[in-house]
Symmetry: C2
């Protein structure tokens, strides 16, 4: 095989990019709908781009400073690799989101002919995101691997660049989207009593922009980071067990994963075409994912034998996938099945019992995933040591192209519904997009399972990499420095979440005031005679997000540095472990509580317990609003916090050790 395996990431990446362009043209080729729809879609695109450009300006100042420090203290190759990793992440987030914002009106228009047509546009729009992220991620890291001959230090720069962008994008996007959402809901829906996505609501464009910058661009950068991080750590740890063969194996696995994803995406399109009469969107999307993963397993089976002459990698990767799927099912159970009915029922005794029960559901939902991850870790570790753990994470993420497609499809369907509402399209259009949106919520649960499982495993692998680069032989909890490090580390996700939620709260407050002001001061809004000032609301959300995203992000960067200086490198290891164990719980708890409240509200809106306007519904709107920053700001950002702290420690502590020791 020789050189072809070394180049596999680059080759697969290029093929993926070509397929992405093909998909993009397919999406752009669709009918954009009438002038009103174009106008709304344009407004969302302009708002989203304006936000991303402002975000990138701040981001690149910080990236520049760090690149300089890395260049001076370590090497300019590493500094370049850092900027390369960051820039490809920025590009994939920007490109993926641009296409997503162009898909929304096209989806709405397609929905007016049939649900199948709408599903196709929305899915392909999401697939552009999925393919962009995985192709560019694999291409970039593969190039660095090939050019440097597998230099771990330079590769760690790439991974750090990816993590940096991910945290800023998740936190910034998360604050934007929830400030806009909460603002739109509190004044529009609750006070003024106008429906969701009503064009009279000044925050409605900002709300739709938020879906794109948070749920699409933020999530893209997040998974780019996971994908790159897992390949990087598997490659480093693989080299220790199987030398070069082990280092390239993760690239080979993900290359085939990219092809499996492409085949899965094509199949979904084929299924839609041939099932236009009795179409079940949920079944089609699931079938696409399963076929992709099954194909990937066949590839992995063959490659395990050919490259590493062992079936152990195949068993581990199969187990990783299986665990990812089960965690997804557990997530779905807690956020969409029996517990939601009980939760909706508790809303009849008011918002307080609903909140208490929702918190309890989220906390309970940590148990099974943690036990599954523990089981997977033990098996993987017994088979192939730390390499096994990293490989299980790679297994979960290798078909990212299609899992992310299904994730990103949700916000597109959601936005399409918004446009249908604002452009006053016939009610069956909205019903169709709502149906697609609901399916998106369920299929996204699988994606979340993969994201949580892989993040935990990758954090474990990065923890191991950290001990290796710093030459620590043991991280002994009976050493009080380690225990204290763990205690401080366990605190950080709580502090981080607090900062993120405060940011949402403060920005939402400003938004609430602005929306109230517009209703009071601009005459004719409620009578549909004057357009509200949408741009002002977008501006407020943008400024709020940009002002508040830096502090929580810097927490991740500076805590390893400070803990190293005040304590030592072993305490840093303790801190990483502490942040991982408490962060994973907090992330699962917050994501699932938020998801449960969201779906309890939707369940009540189907007419249960009095439906819309009932006391139970009012309580469920409060639950949903509380859940928003839980599930879309703090919860998912914690996964990145854990990994960014690990990668910063891997990169920075060895440099500091040279100066201090």
């Amino acid at each position: 095989m020789g050189n072809i395996t070394h180049l596999s990431g680059v080759i697969a990446g290029v093929i993926g990019i070509i397929f992405t362009f093909f998909l993009t043209f397919k999406v752009l080729d669709q009918d954009q709908g009438n002038e009103e729809m174009k106008k709304i879609s344009k407004a969302i695109q302009i708002g989203a781009r304006a936000f991303l450009f402002s975000e990138y300006k701040i981001l690149y100042v910080i990236l520049g400073i760090f690149a300089l420090i890395l260049g001076v203290s370590n090497s300019w190759e590493m500094s370049l690799s850092f900027l390369f990793g960051a820039t490809l992440s920025v590009l994939s987030g920007f490109f993926g989101m641009s296409i997503a914002t162009k898909s929304n009106n096209r989806t709405a228009q397609a929905a007016s002919s049939s649900i199948g047509a709408a599903l196709k546009v929305a899915f392909n729009g999401g697939a552009v995101m999925g393919m962009t992220v995985s192709s560019l991620g694999l291409f970039g890291l593969g190039s660095v691997y090939f050019i440097t001959g597998g230099n771990n230090i330079i590769m760690s720069g790439y991974a750090m660049g990816a993590s940096f962008v991910a945290l800023f994008a998740r936190v910034g996007g998360g604050i934007f989207t929830k400030a806009a959402d909460v603002g739109a809901d509190l004044v529009g829906k609750t006070e003024a009593g106008i429906p969701e996505d009503d064009p009279r609501n000044p925050a409605t464009i900002a709300d739709n922009v938020g879906d794109n910058v948070g749920d699409v661009a933020g999530m893209g950068a997040d998974l780019y980071e996971s994908y790159v991080g897992s390949i990087f750590s598997a490659s480093v740890l693989g080299a220790l067990v199987f030398s070069t063969k082990g280092a390239v194996f993760p690239f080979v696995v993900t290359s085939f994963g990219l092809f499996s994803a492409i085949i899965g995406i094509i199949l979904v399109n084929f299924f839609i075409k041939n099932n236009n009469k009795s179409l079940d969107p949920s079944k089609i999307l699931h079938r696409g994912t399963y076929v992709s993963n099954f194909l990937q397993l066949i590839f992995v089976f063959i490659m395990s034998k050919i490259i590493l002459d062992s079936f152990k990698p195949f068993i581990i990767i199969s187990l990783g996938m299986l665990i990812g799927i089960i965690i997804g099912k557990v997530t779905e159970y807690y956020t969409a099945k029996e517990p939601i009915k009980k939760l909706a029922n508790s809303s009849t005794s008011g918002a307080a019992t609903l909140i208490i029960n929702g918190v309890a559901i989220g906390m309970e939902s940590t148990a099974v995933p943690v036990l599954l991850i523990s089981f997977g870790t033990i098996i993987s570790f017994n088979f192939l040591g730390l390499f096994g753990i990293a490989l299980a994470a790679v297994g979960m993420l290798s078909t990212l192209g299609i899992t992310l497609a299904i994730d990103a499809y949700g916000p597109i369907a959601d936005n399409a519904g918004g446009i249908a509402q604002m452009a006053a399209m016939p009610s069956y259009v909205r019903e169709r997009t709502d149906q697609l949106d609901a399916v998106g919520n369920t299929t996204a649960a699988i994606g979340k399972g993969f994201a949580i499982g892989s993040a935990t495993l990758t954090a474990l692998a990065l923890f191991a990499s950290y001990t290796q680069v710093t030459g620590i032989s043991s991280v002994d909890l009976t050493d009080s420095y380690v225990f204290i490090g763990a205690l401080i580390g366990a605190m950080l996700p709580f502090l981080f979440s607090s900062l993120a939620m405060n940011a949402v709260g403060d920005s939402a407050n400003l938004m609430v005031k602005e929306v109230r002001r517009q209703f009071n001061e601009i005459p004719g809004i409620m009578e549909n005679e004057t357009d509200p000032d949408y741009a002002k609301c977008v501006e407020i959300a943008t400024n709020g997000a940009l002002r508040k995203m830096t502090l929580p992000s810097l927490l991740a960067v500076f805590s390893p540095i400070i803990v190293f200086i005040v304590l030592n490198e072993v305490a840093v290891a303790g801190m990483l472990a502490g942040t991982t164990v408490s962060g994973v719980m907090l992330a699962i708890f917050m994501s699932n509580s938020g998801g449960a409240w969201d779906n309890a509200k939707k369940y009540i809106e189907t007419g249960t317990h009095g439906g819309k306007g009932s006391m139970a519904h009012k309580a469920s709107v409060i639950g949903d609003t509380v859940g928003d920053p839980f599930k879309d700001t703090a919860g998912p950002a914690i996964n990145i916090l854990i990994k960014l702290m690990s990668i910063v420690s891997i990169v920075v502590v060895p440099i500091l050790m040279k100066f201090f020791n």
Copy 2:
């Protein structure tokens, strides 16, 4: 010094018990008020006793089973010590609570003459609890030490008995009190619109019973456990550094602490007598605590030199006290100062923003305590190793007699207010008890600081003891069994909290239905013509608590056993560390979020943002209700969970190792 130091715990315990009787007669000697008041107080006493008796019945079945297992698998001496530790805890909880329930109507009656008189009765009632807990705890463990000549294994049985009772009492009492409270508030205050403690509310007696079984008996058992646990672990670790001298030193320190507390209690009575004109209850209580702690430091200074020939123990204990006080101040800041104003302000945009901000406040409040505890740990460890850490915890708890007095005084003042309301006493009586109640909330913050700080340090010390009894030389996080243990351990406090909160939710739901039923089916309640059926509500809260308290408690007992059997003894160590680091955060977060919502509501009730009946007030009532199970059920129970798991591991794993290895 010789034998007197070995007997110090027993002697001080006996002196403390004598002083407690003296205090008890002083309280019982007070005027009980009119027939109506006696009747209400009697109803509370009967309800509280009935609950405790039912609780103890279940508890003793489980204690009996464990005593049998310990006797067969280890030794009958240990089994006896286990039952002795548990029984003294039961006795102190029962006796302390009985006097507290007899103090409430006496306090209300005293309040009709002056606030000073009321302060005196309430404080002495609380002091009975404080002195009972510390005297019996010290006497019991001191006796075991003396009789067995300091046998660690037999002493660990005593500590395990104390932990067992503490968890059951905290969880059972916590479920009872919050089910009753939520039930009374949701239907009585929110639906029927009648004030707090109105005699027409069927759940009002249950609510007052709850204050006693939860806040008094539950808290007593909790601190009995902390006190015993910290002395036990300091004695074991002290023996390793200073042999017998080190083993007895913690007993000597706490013996003098008991005397300091007695002097502080006498001084508070003296201050009240001499400041009757311009009385500031807060200042008097604080002054009593500070004098006690100052005296204690002088004793410790002398004893450090005489017994251990070193000032290091003195420095460590001073630092422990200082950190306890600062954590208390931080707690007070987050639950009573600036953040509360901001929180109350956020309630003007509705319950959702109030909940989001309250969660953010609680999460943020973890930072400073964790950093302080880390600082204290490092210093203590550098001075005296693990013994230093345990000693810092002993320092925080040594004056428990007075700190618990101030804690237990709050519920008495609260109950006195309830009786004043129900017995239709003049409004100035209620105003005076409210004033005392408000002071109680603030002074209790200091007590909480000591409780959290000492629990964390004791958990660290118990962790170290565990590694010693099992002969583990290192708990290395790079060993995947340890990391997985930590991951599972970090999950347990979340699962435990979920079980506890679900229990409150379910029981509260039954209570809500019963109160609604009584309003509908019993004619004349609202017109004050018929008494509601109070006993039925007490029965519902009792049954709910008893049915639901066992599962979360057994989680603590069985998880070390299962993790040992499935994984190994090092994974159990990882689990204990994981539970400690995530549990401490969750406990601080939940307690302080709950406290913040409670005080935000009280702040609004002073007239801010429209006062009672305003939109902001309605939102704040929702926040307060959510906070109830946070701060009074799950939050404080987590501290015990951590320690019970540690002590079960210490006792059970060595036995299991004999069978499995």
